[in-house]
């Protein structure tokens, strides 16, 4: 469980996050949605401590991120996996080495065990027989899947994904969505996903947080999303004519 209390973050004079509070539970997919530039990426990076926050508190199962010393922070991070919006694969390492990176650094697995683990993770994202290629030799969607495989390699307790299925075709996007939901439930992970894919929102949104102009404008489950009368979220989710028609039929 991750608790976020009154999180504020600004860059210079521009305030990007204006006091966001929420609770993300384990075994649930927590989706952050909002317009481009709303602050989703900043929110996610603040949660994992990549941004120094102005005020507020982030608590990982009772452990306050702001109060941790370097060792505690390192221990916490070994329980995290993260997929960056731009993938952030290590471009000098091949696919296999990317996926096994954290394992080589922190686990005492043998080389063949690490390789097995990498192959297992790559198989889960439908990416086999690409082990020896460099990231630059893969397509954007394939790189994204490597990034996901890398994020789950250490069996994380907390999984953060910034737009995990942007740039993927609809069928692969569904595979990825289902994978994220499956592992979330299977390993009881606290998963936080940034997305603006409405399909994902409806399919796997256990808990949805809508961020508008740096504030939490709505929060609820995907079922509640179908029936809510909250204008802000209705405007955002049903901005396409197709969705409007579907909603009218409900």
């Amino acid at each position: 469980m991750i608790e976020v209390n009154d999180l504020e973050k600004s860059f210079g004079d521009t305030k990007v996050l204006k006091g966001i509070s929420t609770v993300c539970h384990e075994g649930k997919t927590n989706l952050i949605i909002g317009r481009s530039g709303a602050g989703k990426t900043v929110f996610l990076k603040s949660m994992v401590g990549l941004h120094q926050i102005d005020s507020g508190e982030i608590v990982y199962d009772g452990r306050r991120l702001g109060a941790m010393d370097d060792d505690e922070r390192k221990d916490l991070r070994m329980e995290m996996g993260m997929v960056f919006q731009g993938n952030a694969l290590f471009d000098s390492l091949n696919i296999e080495d990317n996926v096994t990176f954290a394992l080589s650094m922190f686990s005492d697995m043998s080389e063949s065990e690490r390789l097995d683990r990498a192959n297992f993770c790559l198989k889960r994202v439908n990416l086999e027989n690409q082990n020896k290629k460099l990231p630059a030799e893969l397509s954007g969607g394939m790189q994204k899947r490597v990034a996901i495989a890398r994020a789950i390699s250490m069996n994380p307790k907390y999984l953060f994904c910034d737009e995990p299925n942007s740039g993927l075709d609809p069928s692969t996007a569904i595979v990825i969505d289902n994978l994220l939901q499956e592992i979330t439930q299977e390993y009881n992970i606290t998963t936080v996903i940034n997305t603006h894919d409405m399909n994902s929102v409806m399919e796997i949104g256990d808990h949805i947080i809508y961020i508008k102009e740096g504030k939490k404008a709505w929060e609820g489950s995907s079922d509640e999303l179908l029936t809510t009368e909250n204008e802000a979220i209705v405007d955002f989710v049903y901005s396409s004519e197709l969705f409007k028609k579907i909603r009218a039929k409900l």
């Binding site: 995290m80 993260m82 960056f84 471009d91 990176f101 954290a102 080589s104 922190f106």
Partner: protein, 262 residues
């Protein structure tokens, strides 16, 4: 306040504050760099990679430059000492001293600051802007340690080898030029090389080299590590890295020479 004064204080403020801030941040980065590694084996692997990238890859350029500069130094010295009262073997002494004292340790380090420094800064800079450094951090790895420490160790260990090679090749180049050009006879040149040789000069040169290597590695890493923005800023910072490490080398050269040779 008159505009000129206003501008002056504005600029001096900016200079001072950015200067002090840079220095502070550089020190903090050094602190992060020299922490206990998470895993020695992985750091060792990174070190081996850096040896290749930053060390072995510089062998060619160092060799070529050293041979030819050695040759030119000999020819110029011979030309300037063209006096019946000065024995021929003085040319070899002069060549030896210029190569060992100044050319190999300082000039070659400056060349390496350009080659290796821009490489380090742009590699780290592009890792920063593509969020690879953030990715390391989220994994629990200390990015400064994992990325910078092996580069520093590699340069500090390998540059003395490069510089020793450069001394050897520089003198060889001088010998070749002297003999081929018929300026000094092989016997005279060899005599000169052995005359009035001060072994401490070699230590002096190697001490300088190690300090310069440390400066190149850490200053370039600093400029690369803290890039903000995109490709353009990576380029700007790579240039800054080269300029700042070169200036640092020149200043350190002066200080070390005062300390060691006086």
């Amino acid at each position: 306040m008159p505009i000129a004064v206003q501008n002056y204080s504005y600029f001096s403020d900016m200079f001072l504050t950015t200067g002090i801030r840079d220095l502070g941040q550089y020190m903090l980065l050094l602190g992060q760099t020299f922490r206990k590694p998470e895993n020695w084996r992985e750091y060792y692997k990174a070190l081996v990679r850096e040896f290749g990238l930053l060390g072995i890859n510089s062998l060619g350029i160092v060799a070529i430059i050293s041979v030819f500069v050695g040759a030119v130094v000999t020819i110029q010295t011979a030309y300037n000492l063209d006096d019946p009262l000065i024995p021929d073997y003085y040319v070899a002494i002069a060549t030896r001293e210029s190569i060992i004292l100044e050319f190999s340790p300082t000039m070659v380090s400056l060349i390496l600051a350009g080659k290796v420094g821009s490489n380090i800064a742009s590699t780290l800079g592009s890792m920063r802007v593509s969020e690879q450094i953030d990715a390391l951090e989220v994994m629990g790895v200390n990015p400064a340690g994992y990325l910078i420490f092996p580069k520093v160790v590699s340069l500090v260990l390998f540059n003395p080898i490069l510089i020793t090679l450069s001394m050897f090749l520089g003198i060889l180049g001088g010998y070749g030029a002297a003999v081929l050009g018929g300026v000094v006879s092989p016997q005279d040149f060899q005599l000169g090389l052995q005359t009035a040789f001060n072994g401490f000069y070699i230590s002096y040169a190697l001490i300088k080299t190690v300090v310069f290597a440390f400066l190149i590695a850490t200053i370039s890493s600093y400029y690369g590590y803290y890039v903000k923005g995109g490709a353009v800023q990576v380029g700007t910072n790579a240039t800054r890295a080269v300029v700042s490490s070169s200036v640092a080398i020149i200043l350190a050269n002066y200080v070390l020479t005062q300390l060691l040779l006086l």
